[in-house]
């Protein structure tokens, strides 16, 4: 049997080797694009319109301070409040991540009973409203506790941090479970054939690979918890939203000041959370390429 005659090459591809013969080069990952200014501009314009609108409104009605001047005057206080929000978000995220990692590992552990309990706890805390959990923590945790004869007071904001860490814990538990489940089972089998114990497999082989998969949803969760920390004002923790209404009261409770003041609070959170969202998107896209 003779080989079929070679296909005649098209003139355009006569010189160059066939594309399939070239060595495979993965497309380079797109560089992290800093948020383009278009959208930020839009927010800036919206914010400016509000502030200037409020200012015009205020100036029309006498020698009172404009909204912009009020915000400028109280800026240190408002920023202190915002910093407190960030602090609460970081602490509850740390607490919730640690607890959620434990709960997630229990969810995929070998003990059947513990697995059930961990699953139930995860679903329960994941499906409850954050505000209800916050109330739960505020009312059910004592305002002080005694360790070895020392009475330690537990300030409100610490209880709020614990309250926020409950939903973080549940969501983190699901993230861990999902990430471990998404790894190919060959990883487990290969580790077993190399005589790794279950614990070694988990900590040295499975979890390090999961970090990459867990990072984007984890950052998403952080962004959500940061935005949820303002709910602490409802239960009496003095954070940015509380201070905003106090500033409003200190300026005589003028109704035209409310929109610019709350608009300013929105702007602060936007400037903090929007870059996190963009970075999360970038990481998601990047990790998808490498999988």
């Amino acid at each position: 049997m003779s080989a079929p005659p070679p296909r005649r090459l098209e003139p355009s591809e006569a010189g160059a080797p066939l594309a399939v013969l070239l060595p495979f080069r993965p497309p380079p990952p797109a560089a992290f694009a800093w948020p383009r200014l278009r959208l930020v501009h839009l927010v800036g314009i919206a914010g400016l319109v509000l502030v200037v609108g409020g200012a015009a409104h205020a100036q029309a009605s006498g020698a009172r301070l404009s909204a912009l001047e009020v915000i400028w005057r109280w800026l240190p206080l408002l920023m202190w409040g915002f910093g407190f929000n960030i602090l609460m978000s970081v602490l509850s995220m740390a607490l919730g991540t640690a607890a959620g990692l434990g709960l997630g590992l229990l969810q995929i552990g070998e003990n059947r009973l513990l697995r059930r309990v961990a699953w139930a706890a995860t679903q329960f805390f994941r499906n409850s409203p954050w505000l209800v959990l916050l109330f739960f923590a505020m009312f059910m945790i004592p305002f002080q506790f005694t360790v070895f004869g020392h009475t330690m007071p537990l300030p409100d904001w610490v209880k709020a941090v614990i309250g926020f860490s409950l939903p973080v814990m549940a969501n983190m538990s699901e993230i861990v479970r999902g990430a471990v489940a998404s790894l190919p089972s060959g990883q487990w089998e290969a580790a077993e054939s190399l005589a790794f114990s279950r614990r070694q497999t988990m900590w040295r082989i499975i979890l390090p690979q999961c970090v990459k998969r867990m990072l984007p949803p984890w950052m998403n969760l952080y962004s959500l918890i940061t935005m949820a920390t303002v709910q602490a004002s409802i239960v009496g923790v003095s954070e940015m939203l509380t201070l905003t209404s106090q500033v409003h009261a200190a300026e005589g409770g003028r109704p035209d000041l409310l929109a610019p003041l709350y608009g300013f609070a929105m702007l602060c959170f936007f400037l903090y959370c929007y870059p996190i969202e963009r970075f999360t998107l970038y990481l998601e896209r990047r990790f998808q390429l490498n999988q």
Binding site: N127, M266, C273
Partner: protein, 254 residues
């Protein structure tokens, strides 16, 4: 008769164990709690419907050939996704509610245009709607381009393609994500508490302030919300099954 027996039993339960479920044996508290539950369900249902509409329209507008329209929709999505929902509610209710002109009601009183319940609906719908726009967009992106082209070749207009071909397919693709977001919306209705909308959390707080039964009401609240979420998830799963096209999507055609 039955009600009385049940009430007596719960009163007994209180006297023997200290578990004080006033919402069962006390007619006034029961009425309050049920009306709060009704308000939560009302808020959730209305906001779910409006936010889905916002999502569908917004995703369509994102495909608009006009840059201004695309930019506006993107701006809306980005702003509402990245600011705290509670501040949004305050901004709408206190900020805009104060600036907007007042109208006269039937008794000649000057009242705000929108009540606190209506403001809660507006802001919660916009908040969830912004997420829905993104969800619908991801669903639209997953529909093969050839489907659009085929529909265009059959003479559908841009709106026609979207309404009769793209949206039904995209909806089926994005239902799991939509499900997630609607559960989130149901949980977010508790924020209406902050502007004194008498929903479940609000009335529960009134009840535990009156009856001093915080731990019991807390457990009741958590169970009630878990049940509500469970019902919503159940309905969504039924809907997902009902919409499934054989052979389309993951394992749906069984």
């Amino acid at each position: 008769m039955l009600m009385e027996t049940v009430a007596r039993w719960f009163l007994d339960l209180y006297e023997t164990t200290g578990i004080n479920l006033t919402i069962v044996y006390d007619a006034y508290d029961r009425q309050r709690f049920l009306s709060g539950l009704g308000m939560t369900i009302y808020l959730a249902v209305v906001c779910i419907l409006i936010s889905i509409a916002i999502g569908a329209v917004g995703a369509w507008a994102q495909g608009s050939p006009l840059r201004v329209v695309r930019g506006l929709v993107n701006g809306f999505v980005v702003i509402f996704r990245n600011t705290p929902p509670l501040v949004q509610i305050f901004f709408f209710y206190f900020g805009l509610g104060q600036i907007l002109p007042r109208i006269e009601d039937a008794d000649g009183m000057r009242v705000p245009i929108l009540t606190n319940v209506q403001w809660a609906i507006v802001s919660l719908s916009l908040f969830a709607g912004a997420f829905n726009v993104e969800i619908f967009r991801s669903g639209l992106e997953a529909v093969p381009r050839t489907t659009t082209e085929a529909a265009q070749a059959l003479g559908y207009t841009r709106l026609g393609v979207y309404r009769h071909v793209l949206l039904p397919l995209a909806l089926r693709i994005c239902l799991p994500a939509l499900n997630n977001n609607l559960v989130n919306l149901l949980k977010t209705t508790t924020l209406a508490y902050a502007i004194a909308v008498p929903e479940t959390l609000y009335v529960s707080k009134q009840i535990w302030t009156d009856s001093q039964n915080v731990p019991v009401m807390m457990i009741v609240l958590l169970i009630v919300y878990t049940l509500l979420v469970g019902i919503l998830v159940f309905i969504m799963h039924r809907w997902e099954k009902a919409l499934a096209i054989p052979g389309y999507g993951q394992g749906s055609g069984r």
